[in-house]
Structure formats: C-alpha cells, structure tokens
C-alpha cells in the first residue's frame, strides 16, 4: 500500500480517525504522518512544548539536505517584532508572547494546530461584535445564502423569499445595526 499523501513511500502508519462520530481511515508513510500532525498526541509526560520542539526538529530532519540548512537557520532567527519572542523561545515554552506572534510564526503553525485541535486550523465560532463587524456580516450573508439554496432545492419558495429579503436588507443597509 502506498502512502495516500505523497504516493511515493509505502504507508506504514495506519489508523482511523473519529471526529464527532465521522470515521476516516488513514494510511500514510511516517514522514507524511509527522508532517500532517497525524502522529498521536499524548498528554501525559509529553508537554506541548515537547510537541512543538519535535515538530520543528522533524522539519529540519525532513528537509535534511544541505541547502535547506541555511534556510532553517534563517527561520530560527526570526523574532516577533512586537514582543521580541524568538523561534527558539517559542519552541522551548510552547506559548505565544503576543498576538503578532501568530503572524511571525504563521508558516509553522498549521501542523501544531492540527495536532492539538484534531486536524483543525481555522476558527469557526464567535466573532467579536465591534471589531469583527465586517466579518460578522460576511459570515451572516454566507449562512443566509446557504439557507436560501437549501430552501430553493426543497421548493420552499415562501421561506426562500423571506431569506432573500433578509440578504437584501443586510447587503443594502451599511448601518451596523442588527437585521430586522
């Protein structure tokens, strides 16, 4: 069986993942498993900082060729412009120093989040009222549009018309107030 991720190496890591009841079978090689954050995350005796350190070390092991060493060194010297936290410190303590760290280390974060949050890397959930005004509106629109599609499919035209009016109102009114 070949690795379902790189399709090059043989798959040596097999497991099934169950997130909220949805089971998926995964067959990958060790390299891809580590890269994708599929290796098991043990809580006891293996702190988050170990995990983060490991992820970075794997990085350098994978890209082991001489050319990339230079690159690795460069990344290692990255420091957050706001709080001054360096990559080595972040690796050691496993915590961010400030909000800007998320940008500073952004290229490195997906594998970490994936492992800690069961494969997830993007936020779905509450959006701040004041600060996230625009985003809130966009998400609300998306939700209404989905509902509209569903209603049209179900041929529930009366409800669909209502939703369409809501979309119109939301798009039209640039005022920040709640709909309706």
């Amino acid at each position: 069986m070949e690795c379902q991720d790189c399709h090059k190496r043989p798959a040596t890591v097999h497991f099934s993942q169950s997130i909220n009841g949805n089971k998926t079978e995964i067959h990958v090689c060790e390299v891809c498993a580590k890269e994708n954050g599929y290796m098991p995350y043990q809580e006891e005796g293996y702190g988050l900082h170990h995990l983060i350190t490991d992820l970075f070390n794997i990085d350098s092991a994978i890209t082991g060729a001489q050319g990339s060493k230079q690159q690795f060194k460069q990344i290692q010297e990255t420091k957050c412009p706001q709080c001054g936290m360096g990559l080595s410190e972040f690796k050691r303590i496993g915590k961010f120093g400030c909000a800007s760290c998320y940008e500073t280390f952004s290229s490195r974060l997906d594998p970490i989040f994936r492992r800690v949050h069961s494969g997830n890397t993007k936020h779905f959930g509450k959006i701040p009222k004041r600060r996230g005004g625009d985003l809130r509106k966009r998400k609300e629109l998306d939700a209404y549009k989905e509902e509209l599609d569903r209603l049209i499919k179900e041929e529930a035209f009366e409800e669909a018309a209502e939703v369409r009016d809501k979309i119109k109102a939301l798009k039209g009114g640039s005022e920040t107030g709640e709909k309706e």
Partner: protein, 354 residues
C-alpha cells in the same frame, strides 16, 4: 470588607440553588480566554502595561454590575496572603496559575460569586461563569453576553482565520473551555467509568479530577471538558459535551439502580459506615473525608439518609481543603493539625443538620 465576604463561606451563593439534574451534576462552567490586541500576553508583557490593564479593570468595572452579577469586587493578587489565595483556588474563583502569578494579577468577582474575571492570568482576560446543575446552554448564553459587555470597551486580539488569539495554542479559536462537574459514585464503584473515559476522549473531551488538570478524581467527582477549541463553534462544543454528560447521567442512574438491586445491603452498609465515620471521627485525612462525603451524598440521593441536606457535599468538600481549614483557624496548620480540625468541622457541620 469585600475580601471577608469571599472568605467566610465555603459555599458560594449561587451554589445554594439547585440546578437541573443536580443529583449528579454539581455545576456547569464556561471559561473564555481573551486578550487585548496591542499588548503582549502576560508571559511576555512588560510590567507597566500589565499594571495598566489591571488599572483599566479597576477603573471601568470595579463596583459595576451586569444583570444578576452585581457589584464586582477587584482583588489584587499581591494584596492577598498565601492562605487567602488558596481559599479562592479551593472555591474555584481563581486558578492556581493566577495565585502563583508574578505581575499585576487580579480577579474581578461578582457578589454572588457566579462570575470571576481573572486579569493577567496566562491570558489578559479569563472570564469564567458558573451555573448550578446541568445548565451549559444557559451558561454559554450568559458568558457571551458578558463577553460582549467587556468587548464594548476592549479591543480583543482576534484574527479572521485563527479566531481569538491566546497565549497557549491549546486555547486558540473560541478560547472556550466548557466543563461540567459530576458526581459519579456508582460508575466509579463499579469501575465502569474507566471503560468510558477512552471513548469520551475520542470525542475531543477530557475527564479530570475536581481541581482540574493533573488532579485525581477525589470522592468520585469528575470534571468533563472540551479539549478542542479551534475549528468548531461554541454551540457545537456545548452540544457534544451535553450529549456526553446526558449519557453519563443515564449510565450513572442505571448503575445506581443496579447496585441497589444486586447489592443493596452492602451499599447501605457502606453508606452508613461512611456517615458514622464523618459523625464520630476525631482525625480524618482529606482523601478519606472525600470518599465518605461522596458515599453520604449518594446515600442522600438514594433516600437512605434523610436528615442531611444535599448541598453538604459541595460545601464540605471545599470546607475541608487545606487552605480553607487554615483560613478558619486563622493560622498555619501542620498536616496532622488539619486532619484534626477537618474531623471537628465535619462533626459540627453534621450536628447542625439535626
């Protein structure tokens, strides 16, 4: 004296109300982690900035009220003694991390102790809200309202893709930890809980002891909470947690019935022996006290012990913690002195019930 108010009683005012399913679910809690957008997190922040944050909370929110959460009191960590901090930890009003805190830590606590806003913990803001019994949905709704109330005056660190930004990668996204404290004596006695924990973990939920991370489940009290905070909405997290809690309640009730049917006499014996120990012992260690209290509480739930009020478990579990005992004695106590005082307090408390 605001501080005295929080120190005097082991049981918080909100605990006096019995919530839904309160024979098994002791409390529901929502915690939200938030940060100021342009100030470094406490671990990297400079002292002055962190002081400013605390000052901000003092100026804007001290003695303010929001709905039922009235007259917030601000307690600065460096004004408190070690024992006082410990009492607040034992009452779950602050975290051990905040008690140990280095710079400008504080807690803003409502008079009914239902809301505690920790300032400069691992994140700038840790808002936590308790409800008695099984009321996760209600707790989430209120937590969101409190969150919006704070956001009126604070620019939160928030990113479109990553959500609410937190110091620890394990909290990013919703920044929410929802947890439920459950008393599961029958599942613990029959060891069924050990078999259930792995499958609960598979759903991204964790089972812990009463004092959170790393603590053991003393007196059959378990805390179930979500692990994942990124990529799932708050409502879905609550939904998953509710589902598991509902099942645990059902299993616990079934296990209780089965225990009664199959070994009723032994169970009755165990419960009354525990009651006897609590009523008559002169020295009692916290572990033994926790086990006996759990048994007596089960006895109350099963109708075997009638003269004692149900709330006694919540109250005595906290009252017999080391910090609270020393607060009561108004001095530092050795372990053996604590064991003695613990026995005395429990005896006296049970006398009050008669």
């Amino acid at each position: 004296m605001t501080l005295q108010h929080f120190m005097k009683e082991a049981i918080s005012p909100w605990m006096r109300d019995e919530g839904p399913d309160s024979d098994i679910v002791l409390s529901s809690r929502i915690r939200l982690a938030r940060n100021f957008s342009d100030i470094s997190f406490p671990l990297a922040g400079n002292k002055e900035k962190l002081q400013e944050i605390r000052q901000f909370f003092q100026n804007k929110y001290e003695h303010e009220s929001f709905q039922d959460y009235e007259d917030f009191a601000l307690l600065s960590m460096e004004d408190l003694t070690a024992v006082e901090k410990r009492v607040l930890v034992e009452k779950h009003l602050i975290s051990p991390h905040l008690a140990k805190n280095q710079h400008a830590g504080a807690a803003l606590i409502s008079q009914n102790e239902q809301v505690s806003i920790m300032v400069n913990e691992e994140d700038h803001i840790r808002l936590q809200l308790y409800f008695p019994g099984f009321q996760l949905t209600e707790a989430l709704e209120k937590a969101f309202e409190l969150d919006d109330w704070l956001e009126e005056k604070i620019d939160y660190a928030f990113d479109e893709t990553r959500g609410y930004l937190t110091s620890c990668p394990t909290n990013v996204g919703t920044g929410m930890r929802a947890s439920v404290m459950m008393h599961l004596p029958a599942l613990a006695m029959t060891k069924q809980i050990n078999r259930m924990i792995p499958s609960i973990n598979q759903l991204g939920l964790v089972v812990r002891g009463i004092y959170g991370e790393g603590s053991e489940a003393r007196g059959s009290i378990f805390q179930i909470s979500n692990q994942i905070t990124l990529g799932i909405t708050e409502e879905d997290i609550i939904g998953d947690l509710r589902g598991v809690v509902k099942q645990l309640i059902e299993h616990e009730r079934k296990a209780r019935t089965r225990l009664m049917e199959q070994s009723g006499k032994q169970l009755e014996d165990r419960i009354h022996r525990s009651y006897g120990v609590l009523e008559h012992s002169r020295i009692i260690e916290s572990k033994e006290a926790a086990i006996c209290l759990s048994n007596v509480r089960l006895g109350i739930d099963l109708g075997m012990i009638e003269q004692v009020s149900r709330n006694i478990l919540n109250e005595l579990v906290i009252l017999t913690q080391p910090g609270f005992l020393q607060q009561y004695a108004e001095k530092t106590l050795s372990a053996s002195e604590r064991d003695e005082l613990r026995a005395t307090l429990i005896r006296e408390r049970l006398q009050l019930e008669k």
